[in-house]
Assembly symmetry: C2
Homo-oligomer: 188 residues x 2
C-alpha cells in the first residue's frame, strides 16, 4: 500500500479554514484523516479523548518533547498543543492522507522534520475581506480585530515557505482546488 | 440551455499555456471550444480557414473594427488579429464554454465588453523558472530571452485585473485547477 500524504494546512484566523476543511472531509475519495492533537488543556464539557484531543499531563507532554515524539508543538494561553509523530505515521502507513490544520510556526517545524509534507496556505481574497469576515463572525472590539489583522499579515509573510497558496473566495471552489492538489500528489 | 462561459486565459510567453490548454481540451466534461481568431495574416502552408484562423483582408478587418464586431483585437508584426463577437456568442448560446487564449491587452478589452468573462492568468513558479523554460524551448540569443522576461514582468503587472491566478508548476495540476474553476462557474 502506498504511504499516505502528510498535508499541512495553514491560514490566518478568519479566512474560513473550517468550512474548507469540512468540504474536504466530505470527499471520501481523498482518503483524509484529520489529525488529532495532543494537549495539556483539560477536556471541556462533551469533549472526548481521541476524538477532540489526546489529553495528557504537562509532564507527559514535556517528556514527549524531550523524547522527540512530536512533529510540532506550541503553547497557547498556558496550554501545550502538539502533533504526535507516531500517530501520524501509523495513519500514513495505513494509506490515509493526514491533514494537519496548524499555525505557521508549527508548519515550519513539520517542514523541517518531514520535507515531503504537502504544505498549503489559504489566503483571503484581500485584507479588507478578511477584516469583514472577522467582524462578521464575532462582535469583537475594533482593537482586537486590528490585532488579528496584524497577526494575519505577519503569518502571510511566511507564504513563500508553502508549496501551494489557495485563495478562499468561495469555500467550495477552494476545497475543489485543494482536492485537485491532493489528487495530483496521490498520483506522483 | 444555459449560456456557456467566456473564459479568458492569459500568461507570459513560455509559461506553458499550450500544454495546459491541450490538457483542458482533453476533458470533454468541460464542454470547451477554443476560440478561433480572425486575422489579416496570409494562411501558412497547411493552415485552414475556420480551423487555424478566419482569414480576411485588411479592409474587412477594419470594417469589423468600425462596426464593433470584435471582442478584442491587436496588431502583431504588421498583421491584425481579433476575436469576432458573433462567433463567440453563437458558441456560447449553443451552451459551449469558449476559451480565449489572448494577451493581456486583449484581455482588458474583453473584460470591458464582457464583464461576466471568467479571466485566468497563468504564472510561472518563478521568474527564474520562466527564464529556464524560455531558454530550453528555443536557442535564442540571451538578449531576446531578457526582452521576453521584461515583457513577461510587464504583463504580470496586470495580474490584479484577473479573477484567478494559477501557477503552472505542473501542467496537469494547473489544468486540473482550471477545470475546478470552470466547473464551479458552470454551477453558479
Amino acid at each position: 500500500m502506498k504511504k499516505g500524504l502528510l498535508i499541512v494546512l495553514s491560514g490566518p484566523s478568519g479566512v474560513g479554514k473550517g468550512t474548507v476543511i469540512k468540504e474536504l472531509m466530505k470527499n471520501e475519495n481523498l482518503n483524509l484523516s484529520y489529525s488529532i492533537s495532543m494537549t495539556t488543556r483539560l477536556p471541556r464539557n462533551g469533549e472526548q479523548e481521541g476524538v477532540n484531543y489526546f489529553y495528557v499531563s504537562k509532564e507527559e507532554f514535556q517528556k514527549a518533547i524531550a523524547d522527540g515524539e512530536l512533529l510540532e508543538y506550541a503553547e497557547f494561553v498556558g496550554n501545550l498543543y502538539g502533533t504526535p509523530k507516531a500517530y501520524v505515521e501509523k495513519l500514513r502507513n495505513e494509506g490515509r492522507n493526514v491533514l494537519l490544520e496548524i499555525e505557521v510556526q508549527g508548519a515550519m517545524q513539520v517542514k523541517e522534520k518531514c520535507p515531503d509534507a504537502l504544505s498549503i496556505f489559504i489566503i483571503p481574497p484581500s485584507i479588507d475581506e478578511l477584516a469583514k469576515r472577522i467582524r462578521g463572525r464575532a462582535s469583537e472590539p475594533e482593537e482586537i480585530v486590528q490585532q488579528r489583522l496584524e497577526k494575519a499579515k505577519k503569518e502571510m509573510e511566511l507564504i513563500p515557505q508553502y508549496k501551494y497558496v489557495v485563495c478562499n473566495d468561495d469555500p467550495i471552489l477552494a476545497s475543489d482546488i485543494i482536492s485537485a492538489i491532493i489528487n495530483r500528489h496521490m498520483q506522483i
